[in-house]
């Protein structure tokens, strides 16, 4: 138990300095400047901002009073780059390099947050400044999987230890039997966060009961759903939680080897995870004789190479083995026969991120949150036509309205909400009438969508639903591995039909054919990719049938997206300024100065070059 004491000592030493990030506590007059180093903020110059702060601190001789901390994603990507200064919890948004001297002088030297650069919502009407936790974007969030994202330095294991890191692993190894760990996870009701929603505890039980000389634990970080980036953010912001959870899983099922399969497109996540693995080994929390017990667990990263289907578990295993990433029929399930034929349990990153908290606080920690059949929280990636794009975590059962309009701030530019696409290419869309449905795994399935990985892309009145369906099918056709004909041939035929419709060559029979084909593909495809590929089409046909019919019957695209069906025209508000005439690349616009202009639809190539140059918004399409 000496090893655990060492961790407890580190915790007590470190937490004193870190507590000031937890809500206003002072510690020896120190301040922490937390700079988001997630992919979003990094691409907006977060690194230069860090360097600029460092220089300012040196200039003001503040280096021993102020710590600069690089953290993972704060989630509010829309207002990045973000800097948070503790103990006040002041949230500086959209920081530019030139703002840094003023922030340093005002906040770090004079001790008063500089309102000019703060997130506007964090300043009350009476001028008082709120802790960022109280602004609308964060207020109704509940963070379990993202608990430490944006709170700790992911490149420093002692900060993770300070916030009870690796305590759960110690508890599992020394105080719990394998069955106890599995029972706790089962009782918590945790379900797979990667899409399927299968009980994590049951999966572990299958792995535990399979007899074998060798078993494996695999983390699925092949996050391929367009519009989802929670796995990346967790790996970037809190990699140790995944390492700890995988070791706990290894202990529970009797595996001594784990693999994390990560997309190669996530270089920052890969680097931080590797660094974390090395640190965990140095500290004796990973490798042989963990905490000086007789439990061994080693972890290795394997990179994907850009194949969406590798998110399917059997395809992923084939890829790790060095083969084409094609799925196998199930059963046998990987928990019985997985990697190199050995029992293997595979969980998604977000699922793993929940594990240490459950072990540490007991199953009731999770069962207290959520709906009857879906416990705990879910991380959603908010994107598309929404004011506040970013990463959020809310209790299961939160309504879409709360997510889009309270947290997300609604639709920009005064446009009208049309639908939200949930669950990526496997999911479906929800419309205005379903905004108040509490969402969990089961309610979404009922509505013809699915949780998927949790990508939420908001669609407004300017987007055509037939085109959105075509976009997703384009994706699945491209990503279909080709092993089974229903998916390989079927999705291709569906795509051809949709293209015909968006080009105005569709017939009413096409809609029935689409529906029938979709049912067949769902029923007969080998893996999840094919079985769910028709979902975007079925769900848009269910809720936006009239839009399909407009394309087929009237040869019109109501949203004005499908170019082939559009005609450009100039209405009577035209003042004859000739700007559009000059902008037209094919000389399709006729008219003299101060007279109404006309577009020759025969010549017009529908490029749209005339629209932004018109000062009177007289050019319409429809």
């Amino acid at each position: 138990m000496k090893a655990l004491e060492k961790f407890e000592n580190i915790r007590q030493q470190t937490i004193k300095n870190l507590e000031l990030r937890l809500g206003g506590k002072e510690y020896e007059g120190k301040r922490h400047v937390l700079i988001c180093q997630g992919t979003g903020c990094l691409s907006a110059d977060a690194e230069k901002i860090e360097a600029a702060f460092a220089e300012e601190l040196r200039n003001h001789n503040l280096t021993d009073k102020v710590d600069i901390v690089r953290t993972g994603c704060f989630g509010y990507c829309q207002v990045g780059p973000i800097v948070i200064i503790y103990p006040e919890g002041s949230f500086y948004s959209r920081i530019e390099l030139k703002d840094i001297p003023a922030i340093t002088q005002g906040h770090l030297v004079d001790g008063a947050p500089v309102k000019e650069f703060l997130l506007p919502e964090s300043i009350e009407a009476d001028g008082t400044i709120d802790d960022f936790q109280h602004v609308p974007f964060y207020k109704i969030q509940k963070r379990i999987a993202l608990r430490l994202c944006g709170l700790v330095n992911p490149e420093n294991i002692t900060e993770y230890i300070a916030f009870d890191g690796y305590k759960a692993l110690g508890k599992a190894i020394f105080e719990m039997k394998q069955e106890d760990v599995i029972k706790e996870i089962k009782d918590s009701g945790l379900r797979g966060r990667g899409g399927g929603g299968f009980s994590t505890g049951m999966k572990w039980e299958f792995g535990y009961k399979s007899q074998s000389d060798q078993k494996y634990v695999v983390c699925n970080a092949d996050e391929g759903d367009p519009g989802a980036f929670m796995d990346r953010s967790i790996l970037e912001g809190d990699p140790h939680s995944i390492i700890e959870a995988m070791a706990i899983a290894g202990y529970a099922i009797g595996a001594n080897k784990g693999f994390v399969y990560v997309r190669a497109e996530y270089p920052i996540a890969v680097n931080r995870l590797q660094l974390a693995i090395n640190q965990a080994k140095d500290f004796g929390a990973l490798g042989n004789n963990i905490f000086e017990s007789d439990f061994n667990f080693d972890l290795e990263i394997r990179l994907g190479a850009g194949a969406f289907v590798c998110g399917e578990e059997t395809a992923l295993l084939n890829s790790i083995e060095g083969k084409r990433g094609m799925p196998n029929p199930r059963p046998p399930f990987p928990a019985v026969k997985g990697l190199w034929g050995k029992p293997t349990i595979i969980n998604n990153v977000e699922t793993f991120a929940n594990i240490p908290q459950i072990i540490l606080n007991g199953a009731s920690f999770l069962t207290a949150i959520g709906t009857e059949k879906s416990k705990g929280t879910k991380v959603f990636a908010l994107g598309g036509k929404i004011e506040n794009a970013g990463l959020i975590e809310v209790p299961m059962g939160t309504t879409i309205r709360e997510i889009i309009f309270e947290i997300g701030g609604g639709i920009p530019n005064g446009k009208k909400f049309k639908a939200v696409q949930i669950g990526g290419p496997s999911g479906g869309c929800l419309t205005e009438t379903q905004l108040d449905t509490p969402i969990d795994y089961d309610s979404l399935l009922e509505l013809g969508a699915m949780m998927g990985s949790g990508g939420l892309v908001v669609i407004d009145e300017d987007n055509c639903m037939v085109d959105i369906a075509r976009f997703f099918l384009d994706f699945t056709v491209d990503e279909s591995c080709g092993k089974c004909p229903p998916c390989r041939v079927g999705t291709k035929r569906m795509l051809e039909t949709l293209v015909r419709i968006t080009e105005g060559k569709g017939e009413m029979d096409d809609l029935d054919r689409l529906y029938e084909l979709a049912q067949n593909i769902k029923a007969s495809s080998l893996c999840g990719l094919g079985q769910t590929a028709p979902n975007p089409v079925l769900s848009t046909m269910r809720y936006f049938r009239e839009e399909y019919e407009a394309h087929v019957k009237d040869k019109k695209c109501p949203a004005g997206t499908c170019v082939e069906l559009l005609e450009f025209f100039i209405d009577e508000t035209c003042k004859g300024c000739t700007k559009c005439k000059k902008a037209c690349p094919v000389d399709a616009i006729m008219g003299d100065v101060k007279t109404l202009h006309v577009i020759d639809t025969e010549k017009c190539i529908k490029c749209g070059a005339c629209i932004p140059v018109c000062p009177f918004k007289s050019i319409k399409k429809g």
Partner: protein
């Protein structure tokens, strides 16, 4: 006239050798080797495939099969600058297609193609996970986010290289 790009150099072969030494005994070592080869050579031509086949004792047909399966591996060399326009859903609904079209007009290459001088390759890529910055374009590692798609932006970006 297209220029033949020098891909396999003695220095690069040395790096491949080192990589093979590390992964030779590893279970499932092929994927790490291919990932590294793609990085070293910018593609995995037949010459390199032969070496990998010999060292890892895997039939070259199987290696070819694996390479052609994954999007990130290529057999033909790519341009020095890879312009990746993100076509994830969030970027797509924010008109990323227009950015692709603009590059096509500007450089005369379609998605997946490389200019004759091997300077630029245009890729319509999968979601890069920076949805908060949609629409997003990458040129190698440089990220250009929150583009307005009003025209002319890609021309400006291309001019920087």
């Amino acid at each position: 006239m297209s220029v033949k790009k020098e891909v396999v150099t003695p220095e690069r072969l040395k790096r491949l050798e080192a990589c093979l030494a590390v992964n030779k005994e590893k279970k499932g070592g092929l994927m790490p080797v291919l990932n590294e080869s793609q990085k070293i050579f910018g593609c995995i031509p037949a010459e390199v495939q032969k070496i990998i086949a010999k060292e890892l004792n895997i039939p070259i047909a199987e290696i070819y099969g694996v390479i052609t399966f994954y999007h990130q591996f290529s057999i033909e060399p790519k341009g020095d600058y890879i312009i990746s326009v993100c076509m994830g859903t969030a970027c797509y609904v924010k008109d990323a297609q227009k950015l692709v079209d603009e590059v096509t007009t500007e450089l005369g290459i379609k998605s997946g193609e490389t200019t004759a001088d091997y300077k630029f390759t245009l890729m319509a890529t999968r979601c890069v996970g920076a949805c908060g910055l949609a629409p997003v374009v990458l040129v190698n590692e440089d990220v250009y986010g929150r583009l307005t798609v009003k025209g002319g932006e890609m021309k400006e970006i291309i001019a920087k290289y």
